[in-house]
Symmetry: C2
Subunit: 761 residues, 2 copies
């Protein structure tokens, strides 16, 4: 596959401009700082194909929903992250002619995403009939002062002097491309122009989020300035003459404040104050702090790969985007599948967060970051209970897709039936507690969630008198290429796990602190019969089984399908979801993403190597990995089985998914949550890292294509550096108290005083 | 239940006006003549809640579709019968004030649907501060000259003379209520006013059907007339003075011609010519012919019930609406679930036609009427093949919902999976051939359809190596409260039936006319291996079975559901589709409409009484009959089992479905296709009428609530009158050659010379 972007270990470089690829490049070149995000759009006018995108965390519009046929229980709206006021724009006129980058001739074009510094820069030379203008622009979204965005825009006439008109602007007339009825999500509140400062205030309709965007600029030369104003639009027209070779530098400071963070009446003045303070501090100082913050992020979460620059670029890109999307500073936020890089999926939260992203944040950030991801669900518990009640069920059903705790998705087979998401949300509590040892969280915030999820499972299962078993009918498992199946093994298994974990947690609490236990029972109106029922369901759960293969069946009737493997598929069939009708997909044996194997991944300790191998050998050949969340799970399990080449091959399927536009859909935005999957494949897979019984354990190997790889782990106050080379694995405690770790099942003591090197197996 | 309409054997009478019930009344009072239909709207201005509806057979707009999530294979559009130019309107001003029936005071209001004459009339006295105006209006859609509509409008001042302004108009500015994006489906082509004649020509967008509506009027008094014109609007303002007691009579003649029937360029002149001819003939003559045509219809299709006027009104209403909706004059037309009475379901064709309506038309109309219903599908064979190909399958898959042969529905579980519809379409061929003996149709038009449907079944089934059986996975059966199930017994059974019937037909052809047979094999590229495969599939089809009950299972896994019956439901649960979420419905055992029992109804001769009873006793208590197509099937089977009371109870559930607004949804339009179900319940159920081996057979009984009932049957050139009273059944051959019939399994000879009376069992 031809690579569009140049390979560089810290940069993504577009060298020369391909119009037809622009939407992909815009996605790739996205910037974000957890508070806001921008696609890599040009600041200048660009009349070509483009998705201009400015997104603010948590600012959404409840878009009127669209369904083929309304069904009782469907949500009324689908929340969409609102594409917000364009604040990067700077219109440029040279000698009275507007520069439109889709029309004008230029050379030496470069657009560079610098991942180390989290900047996007662009340079080119515009070729005019009688002149050449060099343009260099760089921008960043401040990682320290998250409400700030800065743009430095340089312009130099190369052949002769020119009349320049630069018009930095704020434009609130922005529509979501993904709006069901083409509605405009915003209403303008105020356009305020004072002295050199502009403040545009807009409010989302219905959801009523108020957003003020303030702008000031600096120019390295005196110029004539005319304020401009129109509906939801503020600008400053700056006119000047630039001599040949003279460098004109415009610095645009932007502050974006929202009523999520301030009382509504204060939002405009906050934005004004922030932008003024920014100008006062100046670009250089702000950038230095921003860069320093990113240095710290990289210090904790970087993975270094030697011997394979493309792999290095790929993993850094993924880690970079994860860190741009979610910083953990606000428990009301979460991680959308597209982050701030596009509008698909409405910018909302899926179970991806718990199942794929949480381990990344646990290992590479302060504990509070992962804790905030968990608290997000804790805070939505009441809404999850309402959601279950809407379906006529007890307990809590977390939504499949949400921004504020309410369900947004509206396909019955997903919304109502893909209930295994509840299991991942419960299991994340265990992951967090096992990793951090934070038992207090478990009791205070974990248990209320676990109990309501258990209630849901208990009510959703029913007793089958003919088989003397409990069953869960009518579900969609992680493999969404099956809908409305009975007894999806993964769902049944994770339901039972939830019940058992909740029961064990309660029992431990009873043994350790019976007073608190009694209080809890009263508070949560738990009675002993309820706990007995949970225990009975857990014991008598039915699991579909394939005698012929001595493995669990994905669901009842799986073996009734015509048994084929991916080897039977033609290239023209792939991806199935584009080439086959839905019914053909559903009745085929092909699996979209790890399903039984997702369960084996979660509950690996319940299976021996032979068990895992039997399941793997049956299901992997039937899996088409048409979810970007699939290969990492198989990669980790292949690594577990010592199938190193297979593990590496599977890792490759998503390692550069967006950078190489592997699925031809990066124009829609990046696959943010699946980026965590490649981190998992390396750290959990290649290094075999897991926390077992409170001990970090490793089973490392080095993929043949690499010289070595290295990463860091946060673990209960320590920072451990792990480096795997072709012969040895090195463990270096960079910070924190000594601790025990296990490597290939042997236990070692690790301290800052002494490095540990273990020969690879 | 309080009845809103007065009971009358030939009329539906609204005595006094209830605004809040107006939409229901408008549905009930609909008129149609197969070419066009009108809801029972007022001619005068009515600013209250109303669905003004004028629909022309076959004139549709391909409305942009709406889906929750696009799936490969979904149709691009959903055809909607376009709500067309309002031609009934007559604005009325009295002394300069517009009469708005939603605002003005009136008394002695009556709206009467006369089913015998197929007219809608209305009378009332408008009470003005200083006067009273009597209004009487009557309209009909001409059953002979199907492009004509006539309205007679009478007005009499009762207290003193008044200035009257009558404005008959044509208004093309009509929108469908059911438009996905609020689009206007029409574009105006021409407004032509000549002398006393107006022609409005409109064209549907995209589908480009041109429709000309021509209007002329007559008035029984000289008046001042001013033509009026606006966009898509033509009118004549008629001003006059009416003396106290003076009867002013306005007769409005309308002709509606469409480019479905004439070359586009001729449409306006055709409408003009038709309306001129109508005026020439005059109201009285046209009405007399219209009435005569309806007399003939009633002579063939009436059911008389003595001793129960409400039942009499109910069945006549149903027969009336069926005859209004489809007359069989045009094989390009079919029967929409709402006919011309509303916009729900887009006015399209479902499998209801073949499964429920065909027997009615076979027994009560000339053979060509049923034949045209079959030809409709024959003409769509190529599109059905394209539809199968879209799903990656061989043969033909007829659409679930269509107007022109292309699929319109867009829920995967229906569109792609409710494939049993193919079976009903195949079976209708057998029904027609068995009834009429028209073997020529079978070979010429039937076989090509049967073969392509067989090819579809053969490709859709697959061989299961583990069970040594063929299976059909991923279907939705007639019971739409199950989606995406495996091995729906009904589907598997009707698939096998199709294969066998096709094979038998081919074999008979081979034996009788081997030359034609050979030609056919070549034409349809059938090879012997293909026939062998069909035969193997038919032999080795898998049928789910419940050993515990010695009955066929609705589908695999049905008994895994929590087994409850309708006795376990609370009133607040019903109807389930309004009160339960879809997942709860799906995993419940409750059955929307006859599914296994639909198969037993079709293939009754394969089961003995005990078999039928076992299935009935298992499935009926689990059936909620939330499709209006369900009770009739159970009623017929109850009758078959000699459970007369049950048969009658089930018949009652739909006998007056719309007249009593039983399901609270008649405001959307009438349940046209299910009306055939009540006819079936009486004729097939109570009278036990079936054609077996070419002989009409009967198993009559009289419901206890009735004194007697009587109906007529067309059968191969004969007309048989059947009357069942409390002791005997009487068979009277009114026309045609002598024939053999069977009553309670005994054979009799019937001739016009002699009546036959048989004691009831």
């Amino acid at each position: 596959m031809k690579k569009y972007f140049l390979t560089d270990e810290w940069k993504v470089i577009e060298d020369g401009f391909d119009k037809s690829y622009n939407r992909v490049t815009e996605s790739i070149m996205s910037l974000g700082n957890g508070h806001m995000g921008l696609r890599g759009n040009f600041v200048e006018k660009y009349s070509g194909d483009s998705l201009a995108g400015t997104y603010l965390a948590g600012i959404y519009y409840p878009d009127k929903t669209v369904v083929g046929w309304w069904k009782n229980g469907y949500p009324e709206y689908f929340a969409k992250i609102a594409n917000s006021a364009n604040f990067i724009g700077i219109d440029l006129k040279i000698d009275g002619v507007t520069i439109d980058l889709a029309e004008v001739k230029f050379r030496d074009f470069k657009r560079v995403l610098n991942m180390k510094e989290a900047t996007l820069s662009k340079s080119l030379v515009v070729e005019l009939p009688d002149n050449e203008i060099k343009i260099e622009a760089v921008r960043f979204l401040d990682q320290v002062n998250k409400e700030l965005a800065l743009i430095k825009y340089k312009l130099t006439p190369l052949k002769k002097s020119v009349q320049v008109e630069l018009t930095p602007y704020l434009n609130g007339n922005v529509k979501n491309e993904d709006a069901n009825y083409g509605e405009f999500f915003w209403q303008g509140i105020a356009c305020t122009a004072k002295d050199s400062l502009d403040v545009l205030t807009m409010k989302t309709k219905k959801s009523e989020f108020e957003v003020s965007t303030a702008m000031q600029y600096q120019l390295n030369k005196k110029a004539q300035v005319t304020p401009k104003q129109a509906e939801n639009y503020l600008a400053r027209k700056i006119s000047l003459t630039a001599a040949k070779g003279e460098e004109i530098i415009l610095t645009k400071y932007i502050a974006v404040c929202t009523s999520r963070d301030y009382p509504q009446s204060e939002v405009p003045e906050q934005a004004e104050a922030k932008v003024k303070a920014a100008v006062k501090q100046g670009y250089t100082k702000l950038f230095a702090e921003h860069k320093q913050a990113w240095d710290l992020i990289w210090q904790e979460s970087d993975i270094k790969i030697s011997g394979d620059p493309a792999a290095q670029q790929g993993i850094r890109f993924n880690i970079f985007q994860l860190n741009q999307t979610y910083t953990g500073h606000d428990p009301r936020l979460n991680i959308g599948p597209k982050g701030f890089t596009g509008e698909k999926y409405g910018g909302l939260t899926y179970w991806d967060t718990e199942a794929y992203c949480l381990p990344f944040y646990l290992a590479t950030h302060a504990e509070k970051v992962a804790r905030n991801l968990l608290l997000y669900r804790y805070h939505h518990l009441e809404k999850a209970k309402e959601n279950a009640a809407k379906l006529g069920l007890k307990g809590a059903l977390y939504p499949m897709v949400t921004i504020n705790g309410e369900e947004c998705h509206n396909e019955w087979e997903i919304t109502f039936e893909e209930i295994h998401r509840n299991g991942a949300i419960a299991h994340a509590i265990k992951d967090y507690v096992d990793y951090t040892g934070d038992k207090e969280y478990l009791v205070k915030y974990g248990l209320p969630v676990l109990i309501e999820i258990s209630r849901f499972w208990a009510d959703r299962a029913h007793f089958n008198q003919y088989k003397d078993k409990y069953m869960i009918l009518g579900v969609t498992g992680p493999n969404e290429y099956e809908n409305n199946v009975n007894n999806n093994w993964y769902t049944n298994r994770i339901a039972v796990w939830t019940l058992n974990y909740t029961l064990t947690t309660l029992k431990n609490l009873k043994n350790n602190n019976s007073k608190h236990y009694q209080k809890l029972l009263t508070e949560l109106t738990i009675n002993p019969q309820e706990l007995e029922l949970w225990s009975e369901i857990a014991e008598k759960m039915y699991y579909p089984y394939l005698k012929e293969y001595s493995i669990y069946a994905q669901q009842d009737g799986y073996l009734d399908k015509e048994q084929k493997t991916t080897a039977d598929l033609k290239q023209a069939d792939l991806p199935l979801h584009r080439n086959w009708s839905w019914d053909k997909i559903l009745r085929s044996p092909f699996i979209k993403q790890a399903d039984v194997m997702q369960g084996i991944y979660y509950f690996k300790s319940d299976f021996n190597q032979a068990d895992i191998a039997r399941h793997y050998d049956f299901y992997e050949p039937r899996t088409v990995h048409e979810s970007s969340l699939s290969p990492c799970i198989y990669s980790i399990l292949a690594a577990e089985l010592g199938r190193e080449d297979k593990a590496y091959q599977l890792y490759l399927r998503t390692a550069r998914l967006d950078l190489d536009n592997y699925n031809h859909d990066t124009d829609d935005g990046l696959h943010i949550t699946s980026m965590a999957g490649t981190w998992l494949a390396i750290v959990r897979g290649f290094a075999g890292y897991e926390v077992k019984a409170g001990l970090p354990t490793f089973r490392p190997f080095l993929p043949q294509a690499w010289t070595d790889f290295e990463f860091k782990l946060n673990f209960r106050g320590r920072r451990i550096k792990v480096k795997v080379d072709s012969t040895q694995s090195h463990f270096d405690l960079e910070a924190g108290d000594p601790l025990k770790i296990k490597v290939y099942q042997h236990q070692y003591e690790l301290s800052t005083a002494e490095n540990l090197s273990i020969k690879n197996k």
